[in-house]
Assembly symmetry: C2
Homo-oligomer: 331 residues x 2
Amino acid sequence: MEPVRVVQMGLGAVGCGIARTALACPQLRVVGAIDVDPDKVGRDLGEILDAPDSLGIPVRDSLAQALDAQPADVVLQATGSHVPAVAGQLEEIAAAGCHVVSTCEELAYPWVRHAALAREIDAAARAHGVSILGTGVNPGFIMDSLVLMATAVCSDVRRIVSTRVVAARERRLALQQKIGSGMEEAAFRDLAARGEIGHVGLRESFLLVAAGLGWELDGFDEAIEPVLAEQPITTDHFEIAAGQVAGNHQTIRGASAGRELVLDLTMSMAVTQGRDTIEVDANPPMRVEILGGTHGDQATWSIIANMAPRVVEAPAGLLTMLDVGLPRALG
Amino acid sequence: MEPVRVVQMGLGAVGCGIARTALACPQLRVVGAIDVDPDKVGRDLGEILDAPDSLGIPVRDSLAQALDAQPADVVLQATGSHVPAVAGQLEEIAAAGCHVVSTCEELAYPWVRHAALAREIDAAARAHGVSILGTGVNPGFIMDSLVLMATAVCSDVRRIVSTRVVAARERRLALQQKIGSGMEEAAFRDLAARGEIGHVGLRESFLLVAAGLGWELDGFDEAIEPVLAEQPITTDHFEIAAGQVAGNHQTIRGASAGRELVLDLTMSMAVTQGRDTIEVDANPPMRVEILGGTHGDQATWSIIANMAPRVVEAPAGLLTMLDVGLPRALG
């Protein structure tokens, strides 16, 4: 099998992780890299990634330039969490005839929150015969596609509870900041009331599970609460006093004809051990646990790279994890 | 969405379980039933299933008669474990224009053990525009597609160990007999040496995982050992003396370019609690546990029913669990 030729679009922390993962993968060949940061444009990708050697891949500031140098099959997009911010890029990539695997959290199930834009992106993908997929570890795997997979041997599903606990101190600074580490409770609640804090993508996971099961939801409730430090927490980046915010606890729950779906996500500096569990009340019941949890960063880099051959094989359109065959590692 | 019209082919214990599951599922409509047993032919399916009411579905002894009465989309086949035994039926079903979900264990990955027959079945499926899938809980899920799914967030997979422990005393008499319950050790070893005892499908799970990962195997080793009762075991069906066979322990292991795959299956009357675990040594590592294990009978009935809409949507051909979208429950 010829390697799939990929271009890495976006060289922030996540994009660099994906690029390193793709470079180490014999089934993929990294043929280009794109970023808009003037400090990165023109430099060799190897230098950006702190690789020992030059890769002979200069960072370009546009897709056209990257593809002009080397044709590609798939663009690995890591440029934003919100569909409106990435839609223009997606249409440009589709027009260039490349498939897309994107880290955009809202793209994991864009058909409710951004229905009109989703239809536009889907039309562009179909017009150019390419497939576009939003995925990642969360959304994309732990709290949605793995949840659905756990139900594959079940009948009469009555209730599903997916719980993810992230030990934030093991993660990047950006994630530690994002969850409100070290904030005062009132400030956190202010941001929460304005919808300016919290993990993007929990609603998309929820909608993807419901869609996968064919559940028409009666509605759903979302909540976010601060996790307050019970005792001082000291890490490389933070000194969190007792009573200050150590993280957040976010839930979404809804029902469909008496059946219930609950996603429960805690990301906290106070947690020392991550954990992922899925409980399916059905015949037979299924209780799945990921011992020690799933490391978010490495897992995201991997699944984005792993899905590159899957989008090449998939039918054209704006897809979800329901549509791309069985997700799996590249050897 | 219109319900998928299904015909149940084979009304043994497994087939009856699938039929009951399908009947309870609003997304499916059972329109026919087939069995060759003269004691069942002509009777109403409801009577065969001990349902309270007649279902108005007489059991037929041929596919042609069943489809003559009612057109169908999918045949749920539960008539045999070995590809040569079901191949003729599969070709007949394909010629009639129906898709198939089959419990045939060897059909879960027939491309090695029965390569020529697999090509024949594939050609028939393509010629008639239908898709044919072999699945179940094992093979089909726990030790193969769920294993692959667990790797979806992994890079650099170095070793995979899938362990399944089945508490056989909770299962059907046929399964308890199949694992050698109550035999003398020497008799078990005799049968094992002749390949006449052991779970069918472990090799297929192994080959499916390897195929999913794109691993070219250097070879593989299979082994089967009796599990001997350490103390007497009394159940509804068996009195097993200490030292007699309480079950079997079956393994298959192989390597591909230094990476290792191990499937380890114990089915034993001495076990009181089932357990399924998947350990993936990779970046990140993944350790998945199904707490309490996965109940084999209900799980098989469910996954066969659940995959009916998936084969309708899938491309034509002889497929595996790699090819049919994300496996999931029907609501």
